[in-house]
């Protein structure tokens, strides 16, 4: 029976996470006590404060490399870089949450989620300028969970973080003001499948615990090294853990939920999921595979290799025939998850480990920024009942609103990975690492996949520029300050990281450290 002396906790190292979670808790209290007319502004301020504060904290903490809270949480380059990325992208998403200018009813979120759709009360509130301000603390919780997820060095913490990030997301997925049925449906689907997946993860956890007697990644590695990891428990456990993570990252063949949820959820939430969740999930994947199972690469490498291919191909091919912008971006995210796995593969070789890791980090950042931007543009294009996401509505957008079309084109080219955009720099970094690692067949496939993917990005450009505008075309809303900031930041980032990426590349280079 070990003594139960409390472990030492480096609060400084954990500051980023703690700040966000604190902000979230405060938010709950405000919901409880602050008068309604104040809530919105206070909540927005608080949520932004949390995320931006976390970002600042990351900058301050940067440089530490340690394990804290009884080795449960890592405070190292990778963790901090990812926490910073999540905080930044989270802040941008929060800004999109806070947009009031676009929807006539002042918010993208429902006034009262509890009311049944179409009920008289619901109709009464439909145009009312209220909304569920709980979304802000919920989002903060989710962001906090993600940051912890990416930093956790312990399967149990990882699981808890997984739930902390998931549960709020399930809820806010269902809180769209327009098209509530779709929104609720996406919530149900996400929830059921999500908890299904976490059950797998949990079972995997249990098996690994059974194998190594611990859920600490470091100890798992050692015991794996000790007993040659030749145990069915070990292998099955690892498999189930990976399944759980692949689900969160929305990687084929565990992507089924992605398109539906992305389409149904309120667009700001979709942005949050597409950008932050992916970053967090990949953070967890990197840590799990390289810290926990780094010594038994040969078990998982071939599998990740093939899954990367599947994901790229499925995402690219299914994207071709999509007719809904958000769905299209969902499949694009599936394809990009595949590209990211190429980077994950490239970590393999010890000699080039740093490069593979750093390129993956960089890719995550660029992809997140571009995607958030893309969804931000989606929120601008609206018609009678909310956003006009059907492709046909986008015909001739350029002649209606050249600027919007231009910005969207920039993001699309970025996603397609054309030179002089961040997307190209990221792809280049990842592919270079992969070829360095001898995985050139994978790279060739990736290139072909991105060629196919380019087709559906181009399709949207063709629609916007080369098609005459449709009669009952949508109106392009004039964004308020928040969305404007989001668009400005993401567009600038997409360009700058394409033109002069060096500073950020260096940062990723230095951050490419995994302790534990």
């Amino acid at each position: 029976m070990p003594d139960l002396s409390a472990p030492s906790i480096s609060y400084v190292g954990l500051a980023p996470v703690l700040i966000v979670l604190a902000a979230a808790c405060l938010g709950v209290l405000i919901e409880a006590f602050a008068p309604r007319h104040l809530r919105w502004n206070v909540q927005v301020a608080l949520a932004l404060l949390g995320t931006v504060g976390a970002l600042v904290a990351v900058v301050l903490v940067a440089g530490r490399n340690e394990l804290t809270a009884a080795r449960a949480v890592a405070v190292d380059g990778t963790a901090l870089f990812l926490e910073g990325t999540i905080a930044a992208l989270g802040a941008l998403s929060i800004l999109m949450f806070a947009e009031r200018a676009l929807d006539p009813a002042k918010s993208a979120f429902v006034a009262s989620a509890a009311l049944p759709v179409g009920s008289s009360a619901d109709r009464k509130l439909a145009a009312a300028p209220y909304s569920q301000t709980e979304v802000f603390p919920l989002a903060s919780f989710a962001i906090g969970g993600m940051m912890l997820f990416a930093a956790s060095n312990n399967l149990l913490v990882m699981f808890v973080a997984l739930e902390v990030l998931s549960l709020p997301l399930y809820l806010i997925c269902g809180m769209a003001r327009r098209r509530r049925l779709l929104s609720q449906e996406s919530a149900v689907k996400y929830f059921l499948l999500g908890s299904f997946a976490s059950a797998f993860f949990l079972y995997g956890l249990a098996l690994i615990y059974g194998f190594s007697g611990s859920v600490d990644l470091g100890e798992i590695r050692e015991s794996a090294a000790r007993s040659g990891s030749s145990d069915a428990l070990f292998v099955t456990g690892l498999a189930l853990l990976i399944v759980g993570l692949l689900f969160k990252a929305g990687i084929a063949p565990f992507h089924a939920w992605t398109p539906d949820v992305y389409q149904g959820a309120p667009t700001p939430v979709t942005a949050l999921m597409a950008a932050c969740t992916k970053v967090a999930a990949f953070g967890a994947i990197l840590r799990l595979l390289y810290v926990g199972f780094g010594t038994s690469e040969w078990t998982w490498r071939p599998l990740i290799y093939s899954i990367a291919i599947v994901s790229m191909v499925v995402g690219a091919i299914l994207g071709i025939t999509q007719t809904d912008v958000k769905r299209m971006l969902a499949y694009s995210s599936i394809a990009h998850a595949g590209f990211l796995l190429v980077g994950v593969i490239a970590l393999g070789d010890a000699a080039t480990a740093g490069r593979g890791l750093s390129s993956t980090l960089f890719y995550l950042l660029t992809y997140g920024l571009t995607t958030v931007g893309g969804f931000a543009v989606v929120t601008l294009v609206r018609d009678g009942d909310g956003e006009a996401t059907h492709l046909s509505k986008w015909a001739g957008l350029a002649s209606r609103s050249p600027l919007t079309a231009a910005v969207m084109t920039l993001f699309l080219l970025g996603l397609a990975g054309l030179p002089l955009t961040s997307g190209f720099t990221g792809k280049f970094a990842v592919f270079r690492a992969a070829i360095d690692d001898g995985a050139w067949p994978l790279v060739v496939i990736a290139l072909l996949a991105s060629a196919i993917a380019a087709f559906f990005y181009l399709r949207l450009v063709v629609l916007m520029y080369f098609s005459p505008p449709a009669e009952d075309g949508p109106t392009v809303g004039v964004p308020g300050l928040p969305t404007t900031i989001v668009l400005a930041v993401t567009a600038a980032a997409t360009l700058i990281l394409g033109l002069a990426p060096n500073a950020v590349l260096d940062l990723a280079e230095q951050a490419a450290v995994l302790v534990g």
Binding site: V188, K189, L192, L193, F196, A197, F200, S230, A232, V235, T236, L238, A239, L240, I242, V243, F247, P253, F254, A256, W257, P259, D260, W298, T299, W300, P302, L303, I307, V314, I317, L318, G319, I320, T321, I452
Partner: protein
């Protein structure tokens, strides 16, 4: 035979003006636009006359050169200097090119003057003279070039000019087509010439006459033969020899002076010039020479036979040209013995054929552009000058004793016999037979045109042409009477050309010359008699008789030459083109579009798996999980 060319100096250094003057004329006329319409023709004639004067001066100066220095070259500027390849634009003036520049500028000038009248009513006369100048310039460049590349430039320039002139009346589809045909068939020949140039560079590293001829002796026999045959191909294209003869008669679509220029003075003689100029190469290849003679023989018989069947006065003259050029090829093919003779015939032919064409033009001029001889007849009385000059040209052509044709043609037949062996007899015999045929069709032409009862259309009012047209005809007729005599006895061409072709070998006569000329004269007489018997003695039907012997049918269809080209090249070509277009659209492009469609289809089908049912998604996840686990276990334990 070593030829070294001395650098040109003094007057001889101004040979380049010969080319530049008419070229400038053409440029001025083309760029000048409508404002020059009034004086266009004057500019044209002035430039050519000036050229002629300059040419005479140059030849005089050349004649003044001491023996052994009768070949001067003048390098103007570096054209294509790349590594070992150093192509310069340079001119070579030697007895051979001297003869040609005189012919070209002389006859050219006459034809220009004639055209002033002939084209008097044409609104585009300025353009006409521009093209004519261009033609002369290109031809002069061709004969003055000091290397094969320069020659080739002139060569294609002539092709272009002929294209422009044949298509001068481009509103007539026939004219446009004929012009295109001429250019294309010339291009076929050009390919031969240019490939020869490649071989020269590949083997000798140079393309200038001096280097090529100097190095020729060192070449493999096969190479030389190849060179000879390729050059011959080029020559055939330009000179309308079998198998590339088909364009020449069609070229009659152009205005008559053009025909005169093409057939007498310039274009068609280019082939003869090329072979004569390349004598040092042909001297080295028996095979090549033999082929040349055979081509010549075939062509001259072909031309003579077809010439007998046509009713179109210009077509008949055209085939006569084909046949006469055949004589020249035959001669040059015979090597040192024949070169000078060929050139001699080329000159005399230049005179009388130009005369004949101008005469024909004059007739058409008077008969408002009628060309069907069956609608002529009895014109002798209406247009005396035309009649007389034409008659003289006719006599010269059939080789009436002591007229110019007599000298040149007899000599060719002699040389043919002298070449010895069975081939000698065949060549000689063929040539002699052709002489008879020539006499026949030319007599037929004479009779149908000038003698007998008029068969004119009602609205025809034949009248003599103005002096500006008749004077050149008179001058040419004088030439066709005396040229032969002069060039043999007074001013022996053979001696003049000796620096180029070397001394004429002392021929061992197989048949005594006198016998040959007597025989020839007899054959010619027979031909004339036959024509008289068949044509003059009975009424000439307005419509050509339909039920005639297959021979005549074939001849009327120019022995199926065009039919052959159509069925062997044109139609398969069109078919191939269509096939290719289909392949490209359906095949190559289809493959790509098919791939795209395939991806789209796959995508569409895969989409269906996204059913929207949570439980099916869960199933896919469970399946995935199982697969992953199994894979892991497999990797691990298998």
């Amino acid at each position: 035979m070593e030829t070294q060319y001395l650098p040109a100096s003094g007057l001889l250094g101004s040979a380049w003006l010969l080319v530049v003057i008419p070229l400038l004329g053409a440029a001025v006329l083309l760029l000048g636009g409508r404002r020059l319409d009034k004086i266009g023709h004057l500019i044209g004639c002035a430039t050519i006359l000036l050229d002629f004067v300059l040419a005479v001066a140059l030849v005089a100066a050349l004649a003044g050169q001491p023996d052994g220095e009768k070949a001067v070259t003048d390098t103007l500027f570096s054209f294509i200097p790349v590594g070992e390849l150093q192509v310069d634009i340079g001119l070579l003036l030697d007895p051979l090119s001297a003869v040609f520049i005189l012919l070209i500028t002389g006859v050219g000038a006459l034809i220009h003057i004639y055209s002033v009248g002939y084209m008097g009513h044409d609104p585009d006369r300025r353009r006409f003279f521009a093209y004519m100048n261009l033609f002369v310039a290109a031809m002069l460049l061709l004969v003055l070039g000091n290397g094969y590349v320069v020659l080739y430039i002139g060569w294609e320039g002539v092709g272009l000019a002929s294209y422009l002139l044949i298509a001068f009346w481009y509103r007539r589809p026939a004219a446009a087509t004929a012009a295109k045909k001429a250019f294309i068939m010339n291009r076929v020949g050009d390919v031969g010439l240019i490939i020869a140039v490649f071989i020269m560079f590949a083997t000798l590293g140079s393309t200038s006459f001096a280097d090529v001829f100097a190095g020729a002796s060192g070449l493999a026999a096969g190479t030389v033969t190849a060179l000879g045959l390729l050059l011959l191909l080029g020559a055939c294209g330009k000179s309308g020899q079998v198998p590339l003869q088909a364009w020449l008669p069609d070229a009659m679509e152009g205005p008559t002076p053009v025909s005169a220029l093409i057939h007498a003075a310039t274009m068609v003689t280019a082939g003869v010039y090329l072979i004569a100029r390349s004598a040092p190469l042909f001297d080295l290849s028996e095979t090549a020479r033999t082929v040349v003679t055979i081509v010549g023989l075939v062509t001259l018989l072909y031309g003579a036979i077809v010439g007998c069947a046509y009713d179109d006065i210009k077509k008949v003259l055209a085939y006569s040209t084909v046949s006469q050029i055949g004589y020249m090829f035959l001669a040059v093919g015979l090597g040192p013995a024949g070169y000078a003779v060929a050139i001699l015939h080329l000159l005399t032919h230049g005179f009388f054929k130009a005369g004949l064409f101008l005469g024909a033009g004059s007739v058409m001029h008077g008969m408002n552009d009628e060309v069907d001889m069956r609608k002529f007849g009895g014109l002798g009385s209406k247009m005396r000058i035309t009649y007389i000059t034409f008659a003289l040209g006719y006599l010269a052509l059939i080789g009436f004793p002591f007229l110019s044709g007599y000298y040149s043609k007899d000599l060719i037949i002699e040389v043919a016999f002298d070449s010895g062996g069975a081939l000698g007899w065949i060549l000689g015999g063929g040539a002699m037979l052709a002489a008879g045929l020539t006499a026949f069709y030319m007599t037929r032409l004479m009779v149908m045109t000038f003698f007998g009862r008029p068969r004119w259309d009602k609205d025809a009012h034949p009248h003599e042409s103005p002096a500006v047209m008749t004077v050149p005809m008179i001058i040419l007729s004088l030439g066709s009477v005396f040229a032969g005599f002069i060039l043999v006895n007074v001013f022996p061409l053979g001696a003049w050309l000796e620096p180029v072709f070397g001394p004429e070998p002392e021929a061992d006569h197989v048949v005594a010359p006198i016998v040959v000329s007597i025989l020839t004269t007899v054959v010619v007489a027979l031909g004339v008699a036959a024509a008289w018997f068949f044509v003059a003695r009975r009424e000439v039907p307005i419509r050509p008789p339909v039920n005639v012997s297959p021979v005549i049918k074939a001849a009327r269809a120019n022995l199926y030459g065009d039919a052959f080209n159509e069925s062997v090249f044109m139609r398969p070509g069109q078919w191939l083109t269509r096939a290719m277009v289909y392949v490209d659209n359906r095949g190559v492009d289809g493959a790509v579009n098919g791939l795209a469609a395939g991806l789209g289809g796959t995508s569409g089908r895969l989409r269906r798996t996204q059913t929207g049912f949570v439980r099916s998604y869960a199933l896919s996840m469970l399946g995935g999980a199982l697969v992953v686990t199994m894979a892991f276990l497999a990797v691990r334990f298998v």
